[in-house]
């Protein structure tokens, strides 16, 4: 199925990222159901020029909030993550967990960096370093990774999909690839409101689900032909998700090292 216009991606202002979009995006062949969850089918191809124009927001960026903004963490902060990991590992081995350097220090420095770049993380955001087995097909990019089972919505599943732009609505703000290998993210390029519109268009007789979680499930089950998009994230690269929520999951795609992602969410306190 042709990609519908929806969420677009761009390099965040005040950042420089290597590579071009045609080597950063891949188009999938639809969605399959497996073990009670939804996964992208395994074939991927480069985007056509028409698809790139649907997926990429050309500069200058008019409304940043509606765009998925790519950014790159500087090397010194990435090095700090590895130092923290090493110190934590050492102190765990020594059985002195209380001596761990607080992760909040690193989170604060990343927050200061992003604020300098005018890509500020919301006050009170939650920072989760998630380390996953790279052999998994998908890894969590959602608020509650413990109940992870495939493509999920970036917004709290119990929240009303219609009010996702409101600040109190808990949702994933974005994430950063902390590993030294590239990884990727699989997304459905439609904000929740457009998911609802597409569900209504296909099955006008059925009532639209009330919550974001139900809507995501409905879309994935009703529109298995819709092409997921794979966004490649190099080492240290991150993405601030567009306002309005989207369906997504991490996709390590053949990595050798553990998947390490820093997930930042808002409105979870």
């Amino acid at each position: 199925m042709t990609l519908l216009p929806g969420c677009r991606f761009a390099v965040a202002p005040h950042f420089h990222l290597p590579g071009d979009w045609s080597s950063r995006l891949l188009i999938g062949a639809g969605i399959a159901e497996a073990d009670g969850g939804f996964i992208p089918r395994s074939s991927w191809r480069p985007p056509t020029a028409a698809e790139l124009s649907v997926l990429v927001e050309p500069p200058p960026l008019a409304n940043l909030e509606d765009v998925g903004c790519l950014f790159l963490l500087p090397q010194h902060l990435r090095a700090e993550w590895w130092q923290w990991l090493e110190r934590t590992h050492e102190s765990n081995k020594a059985g002195a967990q209380s001596a761990q350097a607080p992760f909040s220090n690193l989170a604060q420095r990343i927050g200061e960096f992003l604020a300098f770049k005018q890509l500020a993380v919301p006050d009170g955001a939650r920072w989760d370093a998630v380390i996953s087995d790279p052999m998994q097909l998908l890894t969590p990019w959602c608020l509650d990774g413990r109940r992870f089972g495939g493509l999920r919505c970036s917004v709290a599943p119990w929240a009303s999909w219609a009010v996702t732009a409101e600040p109190p609505c808990p949702c994933l703000w974005g994430g950063i690839n902390l590993g030294e290998e590239p990884t990727s993210l699989v997304v459905i390029n439609l904000p929740l409101a457009k998911l609802a519109a597409e569900c209504r268009r296909r099955f006008p007789e059925r009532p639209t689900p009330a919550t974001a979680g139900e809507l995501a499930e409905r879309f994935l089950s009703d529109c298995p032909d819709y092409a997921p998009v794979r966004l490649l994230l190099g080492a240290g690269e991150g993405v601030r998700l567009p306002r309005g929520g989207m369906i997504l999951a991490g996709y390590p795609g053949g990595k050798a090292e553990p998947e390490m992602v820093l997930l930042i969410s808002r409105g979870t306190n």
């Binding site: 500087p74 090397q75 300098f116 770049k117």
Partner: protein
């Protein structure tokens, strides 16, 4: 008038530069003229005969790419310097280079004592290669990095000068990472100035002062927290100015606005004083800023010439205006005459882009850092006592 003493002798071995930076102020950088042995000999004779050379000074090879000339030229210069420097004044030779022509021969030359090397590099490729390009429009960073690697291999210390444009101000972290990755331990920032043929700067845009302040704050916080800390010329100079009382006397002026503290000599032997950028340029009111030629004009003759007296009077007025109007004057000593002339059309003027950004912001941010450090130290001392 007791002129000098000479602090900085800027010699232009050639106006030619093998690259073509978009912000360059040199009007004749395509000219392949070279300073002859005769002119060099006359220059050094002139300098030591003038009476200006009374204290140790720096001989800076600049205003064109000095490494365009062969190593032999500078070995010859060494011999001539030794011959004319009869009183044995310590002279530090400094080379400001784009590093693209560095090779093992140059490295061996730079290993000798009393040589200082400055390398011009503007950071990662997306910043450096925007402005620092060849005449064919190709970026030069790869060649610069090969040069820097050679310097490391030969154990030659160097300082980096980075020109900040409006684009650079978004990237303090990326610049810091670049310096760390290439083992650069000493950095100086210049701002993209309005000088000579470079008549507009990207830093003239509205809102630049605040962006510049945020850049300096962030870069200094990273540089000072590094282990070992990265040396930043702007911080060290501003801290020295703030902590010293040298500059609050009424007669205090800076190297650049004090007559004959700097002597600039081009490859034909024409000389000037004050800002090096003035040499080679003319103005309808002042005529040529070159005040004479080392072959034909003695210093006493020039000191009484109307051209110099008019220049000194106007530059002096400018310093007086700075003293009267600017709260930063005690720590600055008055701005650069070159910048004043190119931006304001007269030396008898005050604030320039360079003042607003390079001087004032750096002083203010450094003062904030020193004050916060002092306050933090006091809290820690109090805590230790209780």
């Amino acid at each position: 008038m007791l002129a000098g003493p000479l602090e900085l002798l800027v010699l232009q071995p050639t106006p030619f530069c093998n690259i073509d930076c978009s912000y360059c102020y040199l009007p004749n950088r395509q000219s392949t003229h070279r300073m002859s042995r005769e002119v060099l000999d006359q220059t050094l004779r002139w300098v030591f005969a003038s009476g200006l050379a009374r204290v140790p000074f720096v001989l800076l090879w600049h205003a064109g790419e000095p490494l365009v000339l062969p190593v032999g030229f500078y070995e010859m210069a060494d011999d001539l310097l030794l011959r004319h420097n009869e009183i044995g004044l310590p002279v530090l030779q400094s080379f400001q280079t784009n590093a693209t022509l560095l090779n093992a021969d140059w490295c061996r030359f730079f290993q000798r004592p009393n040589v200082h090397l400055g390398v011009s590099v503007d950071g990662p490729g997306f910043l450096h290669d925007r402005c620092r390009r060849t005449r064919q429009g190709q970026g030069t960073l790869d060649r610069v990095l090969r040069g820097i690697e050679l310097l490391h291999e030969h154990g030659i210390p160097f300082q980096v000068i980075t020109v900040l444009t409006a684009e650079s101000l978004d990237y303090p972290d990326e610049l810091f990472d670049f310096y760390q990755a290439h083992r650069i331990s000493s950095v100086a920032f210049n701002v993209e100035e309005i000088e000579g043929p470079h008549t507009a700067s990207s830093l003239q845009r509205a809102g630049t002062a605040e962006r510049f302040r945020r850049f300096v704050q962030r870069f200094l916080s990273l540089a000072l927290a590094a282990d070992p800390p990265l040396q930043v010329r702007e911080f060290e100079q501003a801290a020295a100015s703030l902590l010293s009382a040298r500059r609050h006397g009424p007669d205090t002026r800076t190297q650049e606005n004090k007559p004959w503290a700097i002597v600039n000599v081009d490859c034909a032997g024409n000389f000037s004083t004050y800002s090096p950028e003035l040499l080679g340029l003319t103005s309808p009111r002042h005529g040529s800023f070159a005040l004479g030629n080392v072959a034909t004009h003695s210093l006493p003759a020039v000191l009484n010439a109307p051209a110099f007296l008019a220049l000194e009077a106007e530059i002096g007025q400018g310093v007086d205006l700075c003293r009267a109007q600017c709260r930063h004057f005690p720590f600055c000593g008055g701005g650069s005459p070159g910048n004043k002339f190119f931006e304001n059309g007269t030396f008898a003027s005050t604030e320039t882009l360079c003042c607003r950004l390079h001087k004032k912001v750096c002083l203010d941010v450094t003062l904030e850092l020193l004050e916060s450090h002092t306050a933090q130290a006091a809290v820690e001392r109090e805590r230790a006592l209780t």
